[in-house]
């Protein structure tokens, strides 16, 4: 049930035919965890907060550095040295005080991931490294929670959505470890990719549209092209297939 104030605040999205007050109510009752308060986490958190998700938990162990500010628009110059989640919570509360913002300054590991994400309706990948993404992916599969993947490099980015048990997961094309390197990026790339991830989360929670499942969307900002590739669920995947749990 929406309050008069909520009906006013969300008036423009309630006007969307597929969305309506029912859709807004679904968002209000939803709980979403965003893993990372950086380049991707910034637009994701801003747009999900603006849309009126009931609870957003944002997890990041890091502190704001000056070199983050070209892309991590949750944070400003006055936040340098501050915990990213504290900076994020302050900005998000200022944007929409009706959304519960939980700020968790922890490193996501195999040991704590279940506790961090287990009570949520959606897990959003805003990480900056592949190993943690796989930790999240596995947990999402085990707990049957949809997983919204995004990644960027330079002017490029990619997005895919995982519905556990139904669609290809992030691990389905795994061939081995990828070296971790300092990656180049300009802020507009995670802005595009994070916005698409937030769109996917909203569509899933409201139950409308066609999700990016079994599809990888690749964005090339230099050419302004979107390419789509079909993905296949791997029956031998060690996260979602017959090899799961056999490590």
């Amino acid at each position: 049930m929406l309050t008069p104030s909520e009906r006013e605040r969300y008036d423009r999205q309630i006007l969307i035919r597929e969305f309506g007050q029912e859709g807004q109510g679904k968002l209000k009752r939803s709980r979403v965890v965003i893993a990372g308060a950086g380049g991707l986490g910034s637009p994701i958190a801003f747009y999900l907060t603006a849309a009126g998700i009931g609870m957003i938990r944002i997890v990041d162990h890091d502190r704001v550095a000056l070199s983050n500010l070209n892309r991590q628009v949750l944070h400003g110059e006055e936040d340098v040295g501050r915990k990213k989640v504290d900076s994020a919570r302050a900005k998000l509360r200022n944007l929409n005080s009706t959304v519960e913002i939980q700020a968790i300054a922890e490193t996501i590991t195999e040991g704590n991931v279940s506790e961090l994400v287990g009570d949520c309706d959606a897990i959003v990948d805003a990480m900056d490294n592949l190993p943690t993404r796989y930790v999240l992916n596995r947990c999402a599969i085990e707990k049957n929670i949809p997983f919204f993947h995004g990644a960027v490099n330079g002017f490029e980015g990619r997005v895919m959505t995982v519905l556990p048990g139904e669609t290809a997961c992030l691990r389905c094309m795994y061939r081995g470890l990828v070296p971790q390197e300092k990656f180049p990026v300009i802020g507009v790339a995670p802005a595009v990719i994070g916005s698409i991830q937030a769109t996917e989360v909203i569509k899933y929670l409201v139950g409308i549209g066609k999700l990016l499942t079994n599809r990888l969307l690749i964005y090339d900002g230099l050419k302004v092209t979107f390419s789509e590739f079909r993905l296949n669920k791997n029956p031998n995947c060690d996260h979602c297939g017959s090899s799961a749990g056999k490590e």
Binding site: L40, C172, M173, R175, R230
Partner: protein
Amino acid sequence: MAVKVHIHTTHRQFTDGLESVAVEGNTVGECLSHLIKQFPGMEKALFAKKDKLLNNVEVYLNHSSAYPDELLKSVKEDDDIHLVVMLTGG
């Protein structure tokens, strides 16, 4: 038999800036060998060792994932091979 290989942005330094290259072969592996014959710099960009793609290289055949055993997949005239580099940044 002409097959088009689409080159990822980061690899175009090895293909004289070309976004796509026409190759010949009956399998993805043969097509990539022909690509490397034309542009030898692509070998290190794609392969960890003989017949072993780098872990961060993804191959799509006609816009569909060629995983697993990408190199063994059959191709036919006018097929499209996309070489894509996995991204990890956030």
